[in-house]
């Protein structure tokens, strides 16, 4: 995907067409950058400049005051601790959920790739359909199941929900990867008498670094950006950042200070943006892999 375009691709002929092409690309780039730049630049303005109402103006006296307020004293309606507790909650939900759902997906994906049965196709179909089931059709029973184990609105509960709901996706991504791994590798380990888990851990996992990174990045983005599951399953003590952010913005007092709201939004978006910019190639590869499900 990152390799340079093949030589045969013709360059747009006439100079005018070439100019139009770049004009379109620049206008598109402006469209994509506009919201982010506006939000960042306004989050750096003091209230006097916000009141002047010129959204596009650069901050005259840039200040991080709004960021500081958003970080530790903006009110969510429950309390006035800013997004800081939300950041910590999101970290402690996302990290274990990503690790568990990725590794479990790898194990299941390998098992599905190795498993030869006439039912294999049926299982694959049921798992694939699982990717497209609207969460709404599963929410209430999941609440009930978790409640009966005392896990509803707890820290373990939200992690469990993320892992289970993410499992079909991670499993299919890994399965598609492992189907392409030469059968001889597994067979050799098998001949040595290695068990399934042993083969997976010492032979297959070390081969899977790339796909592990790809899946982990996709899962990180998905779980960090989740709103609905966090809102329902996390409980008041573990609300993730996305939920805290909407609480701050929708709080009656919050509407008075857009710069603080915008700063809170930027802070919430920073972790996934960092991952995106650091991992560009893997991110793109993951998207291409994830798109061709099955």
């Amino acid at each position: 995907m990152t390799r340079s375009p093949p030589f045969e691709r013709p360059v747009f002929g006439p100079r005018a067409a070439r100019f139009g092409l770049y004009a379109f690309l620049f206008v598109s780039a402006a469209f994509f950058l506009l919201p982010l730049l506006l939000v960042i630049s306004n989050s750096l303005k003091p209230m006097e400049e916000i009141r002047q109402g010129n959204l596009l103006a650069f901050p005259v006296k840039p200040t991080f005051d709004a960021w500081v307020t958003a970080w530790k004293s903006a009110c969510t309606g429950l309390d006035c601790g800013g997004v800081r507790p939300g950041l910590w909650n999101s970290v402690k939900i996302t990290v274990p959920a990503v690790v568990i759902s990725t590794l479990a997906g790898a194990l299941n994906g390998y098992a599905l790739a190795q498993w030869k049965s006439r039912h294999a196709n049926l299982i694959m179909l049921l798992v694939m359909v699982g990717l497209f089931i609207p969460y709404q059709a599963m929410l209430y029973p999941t609440v009930k199941i978790l409640s009966s184990f005392g896990l509803f609105r707890t820290y373990c509960g939200i992690i469990l929900v993320h892992v289970v709901y993410g499992l079909p996706y991670t499993t299919l991504l890994f399965r598609n990867f492992y189907v392409g791994v030469p059968e001889e590798i597994s067979r050799a380990a098998r001949m040595e008498g290695a068990s399934f888990f042993r083969t997976f851990r010492s032979v297959i996992l070390p081969l899977s670094t790339n796909i592990l990174v790809v899946v982990a990045i996709l899962q990180f983005t998905g779980i960090w950006n989740d709103y609905l599951l966090g809102l329902i399953f996390a409980g008041n003590d573990n609300l993730p950042m996305t939920v805290q952010l909407t609480n701050i913005v929708n709080n009656a007092r919050g509407s008075a200070s857009p710069n603080v709201n915008m700063a809170a939004a930027v802070i919430t978006a920073i972790p996934t943006l960092i991952v995106y910019f650091l991992s560009g190639r893997y991110f793109v590869r993951g998207i291409a892999a994830g798109a061709v499900k099955g």
Partner: protein
């Protein structure tokens, strides 16, 4: 004897069974449960007395639900067509040996890393009639300039489309671009030898050959539409009035805020049936290819 021994030591089937058990309970078990709830008169407390299709009759005579469905269709069609068209244009242009391709790609794709909550909030601020673009243009002297779609009940749904396209066009670009890079050099050579104009080459030769890629794009976007919840919450909260309500929001509201379990379950099952109907052709062809 030999194969028996191997089975003892190498058992992927156990893992498959455990994994599928989890999927069966949490996904398909939940669906059955929700389906049953939708056939009862449950409100705040689940009530397992069978009541036939009462809830579905109530659902499909409920103004808010009907508006939600209509909104989903309007949003869905515009969002899917718009995102596909824009993403495809970007990918075609990016495939024309442009300068700084990776910079452009980085800019086009980054919204995908931004949550739909932050996406919705950002666009809500940009399109806000008082403080956003409209106020800005008026402040520059064009007093009559009007762009108040966000607060106009007839137009608010289109602001969701704009934000949705902003979020997903890069995804479609990357997927289609991967497909374009896979087009055989010989095909391009032939196209050039025949002297076929570029636009015709794309429309009649290249894209028809990429049907599976385009199909999976449509499937991805369709599941975004049916699941669409976060964007509405962040941007319009279903308003003004009920102008931008969506089925996903309807179901969640009736589950947790209005606590009407039966009606919410009926709404959820309707969403599920709709997604399965829309996806059935895709799964049918996928499956036949596999067999």
């Amino acid at each position: 004897m030999r194969t028996w021994l191997h089975r003892q030591t190498f058992r992927p089937d156990i893992t498959v069974v455990v994994f599928f058990g989890v999927v069966a309970v949490f996904f398909y078990g939940s669906i059955l449960w929700t389906g049953y709830m939708s056939l009862t008169r449950s409100t705040l407390i689940p009530n397992y007395n069978f009541a036939g299709f009462d809830q579905y009759i109530r659902l499909f005579t409920n103004q808010r639900w009907l508006v939600s469905c209509l909104n989903m269709v309007i949003f869905g069609v515009l969002y899917i067509v718009g995102t596909l068209a824009f993403g495809t244009l970007l990918s075609v242009f990016a495939d024309r040996r442009i300068r700084a391709e990776s910079l452009f790609r980085t800019i086009f794709l980054y919204p995908l890393a931004v949550s739909l909550i932050v996406t919705g909030l950002s666009w809500r601020w940009v399109l806000d009639p008082v403080n956003g673009l409209q106020g800005l243009v008026r402040g520059m002297g064009w007093e009559s300039f009007t762009f108040d779609w966000l607060t106009d009940p007839d137009r608010a749904i289109y602001t969701l489309v704009i934000a949705g396209i902003w979020h997903s066009a890069g995804l479609i670009m990357v997927i289609i671009l991967a497909g374009l890079r896979g087009v055989d050099d010989d095909l391009w050579k032939a196209i050039r030898m025949e002297g076929i104009p570029l636009w015709r080459a794309y429309l009649q030769v290249i894209f028809p050959g990429m049907r599976p890629v385009v199909t999976s794009c449509v499937v991805l976007l369709m599941s975004d539409v049916i699941r669409g919840y976060d964007l509405v919450i962040a941007m319009t909260k279903g308003g003004p009035g009920i102008a931008t309500e969506m089925p996903a929001k309807f179901a969640v509201d009736y589950y947790f805020a209005r606590v009407n379990l039966g009606l919410a379950s009926a709404a959820s099952i309707s969403m599920l049936v709709l997604s399965l109907l829309l996806l059935a052709p895709y799964f049918y062809s996928e499956f036949r290819r596999r067999m």
